[in-house]
Subunit: 195 residues, 2 copies
DNA sequence: GGTTGAACTGAACAGCCGTTCAGTTCAACC
DNA sequence: GGTTGAACTGAACGGCTGTTCAGTTCAACC
């Protein structure tokens, strides 16, 4: 029988994940100990094992959730018609989504090598599925004569690298507003694909 | 009196740096132990301390050397006249330089957070000096009416992110030759800045 | 061929690692 | 108010960490 109050698992569980995300993003997975995470949450290290089977799962679950959220959010995004409109939707969506989750993004790009082989494959597959969304748009636009690309695969990776790079420097208190940054990135992408 | 043969320090020293670079790039600084590095070199862990005062210096010296090599190489690069020519020189140089040193580049971008504060500042300053080289070109081109930029600072970071991204996917055995890749990236940069 | 000293070994140091688990706490229920 | 069980503590496990250092090796020199 589930208790309503007095039960902390639905509070501590998210706290554990939040603490792990914060610390992994700041210091890196390998440099963060379970005791540090526990300290951030306010419990002893042993208590963490009520919420995760091990440290690796903490990383993997967080990365998997991030990638699935990314794919689901893009699927739910209104995309409009035609390659140019869809590319604009993608560019704006990508920058906004990444600006909203700087920690998760940082971890997703930095901690791939700390995943055990089986876990790595899962995340890698999700990442490729996302990349193929952009590549499909670029190929469609290329065939329709809307874009002018030397190589759609290379362009896909170059565009994603450029857009994702926003997280390395953007700060909310900064000189440029979010909307302005999103608009500038979209403009650069548009020009880069020759549209 | 320095011995000519029989002395291994001029062999082991570079070996240590090479092993550290290889392992840091593959598994990350925090995940690599001094015993692993020693094993790669073929000595015991204690012997490493003939070549570095500590593990942190191994990382810092390698990153500092990389950044200084980057700046020196760019300084030595023939740049030509005018913003467009200089931008082309920069783009081609950047991609080529980074393709030649995938491990050092990877470490320089991934291990910043594992630098002690004082060391971090040094590397950060070198990185900013390099970025300002590109920004100067972009501002000159903007003022000369050759480029069309929404924001020179943002464009600087976006261009560098795009160009550096090449190291995440390029493989020598791949579909596209180095020269072809360099040319495609330059073309995307050129279009992105509106030239 | 005896001496020197750079290079290296191998063991030890204190301390932290991820993980386990018997025992304690205490709100929620009967 | 006694019982239950989820949540958590605190100590322990073996093993690994970066670093130190007395002792060994051995090529190069006098």
């Amino acid at each position: 029988m589930a208790r309503k109050t007095g039960s902390h698992s639905d509070i501590t569980g998210p706290k554990v994940r939040a603490a792990a995300q914060k610390l992994f993003a700041r210091y890196g997975y390998a440099a963060v100990s379970m005791r540090q995470i526990a300290g951030e949450v306010g419990v002893q290290a042993g208590a963490l094992y009520n919420y995760t089977p091990d440290k690796q799962s903490l990383l993997f679950d967080m990365m998997k959730a991030h990638m699935e959220e990314l794919l689901a959010a893009w699927e739910a995004e209104p995309k409009g018609e035609g390659p140019l409109t869809r590319l604009e939707a993608f560019a704006r969506f990508h920058v906004r989504f990444h600006l909203d989750r700087p920690e998760a993004v940082f971890i997703a790009y930095m901690e791939l090598r700390n995943l055990e082989p089986g876990n790595f494959e899962v995340i890698e597959a999700l990442r490729k599925r996302y990349e193929s969304e952009l590549e499909a748009i670029l190929r469609d636009g290329q065939e329709a004569g809307v874009f002018s690309l030397a190589d759609s695969k290379l362009t896909t990776l170059a565009v994603i690298a450029m857009l994702t790079g926003v997280t390395t420097w953007y700060r909310d208190e900064g000189r440029l507003s979010r909307d302005r940054v999103v608009g500038i990135y979209w403009n650069m992408v548009r020009k880069a694909v020759g549209a």
